[in-house]
Point group: C2
Chain length 118, copies 2
């Protein structure tokens, strides 16, 4: 819900502000978005993620736990030997995809513009 006032557009809703706040809290931390983007591709195991993103196991564990707690990813223990665990994006997590792609597109355009200016 916005209203044009010359160049400026008011974001009226306090709900929108809280929504943005929720978002930032959920994706906060250095690795949340990289993990999500990776899992958009396909499910991964712990070690695979660790290798692909160059994260220490300690941080990876914490970030995965946060994401799982917020229902954005799922954790599945496989009956293999030795044990493997698969992380996958959830239906809720998928709702973030569109926005993340847009953010990526914005970032590309932004970088291009900044480089052009210098």
């Amino acid at each position: 819900m916005t209203k044009q006032i010359g160049k400026y557009q008011v974001i009226y809703s306090a709900k929108t502000r809280r929504g943005i706040q929720d978002f930032t809290e959920i994706i906060n931390g250095k690795w949340k978005l990289p993990i999500l983007i990776t899992l958009f591709e396909k499910p991964y195991r712990f070690k695979e993620l660790s290798r692909k993103l160059q994260i220490s196991p300690r941080m990876l564990t914490r970030e995965l736990q946060d994401l799982e707690m917020n229902k954005l990813i799922s954790r599945t223990v496989c009956n293999t030997k030795p044990t493997t665990v698969e992380y996958a994006i959830t239906k809720t997590g998928l709702t973030l995809k569109k926005i993340l792609v847009e953010i990526g597109t914005w970032g590309i355009a932004y970088r291009k513009k900044m480089l052009a200016k210098e």
Copy 2:
């Protein structure tokens, strides 16, 4: 650029990843988004922002400098007595508006869904 593989969609571009990374670095910090959202509304002076968002001058200065360095806001010193400084969103900053509104909408829907489950 995406491709459907069952439930999963590949985000091919490494550029997209870097774009997302750029975005997170630019909006990183507790106050970047709240400041931007406030300036979408209209230009504000230093003290006004400090009061409205309840930020200490130290943090406000740092966050404003970051945003200005990244060309998302402008800083204008006014010829008044005592000196006042006006911060306003730039054309580049405005390009973030659409995404922030979408993020807010996502957050609202997300919260609603989570509350429904419990």
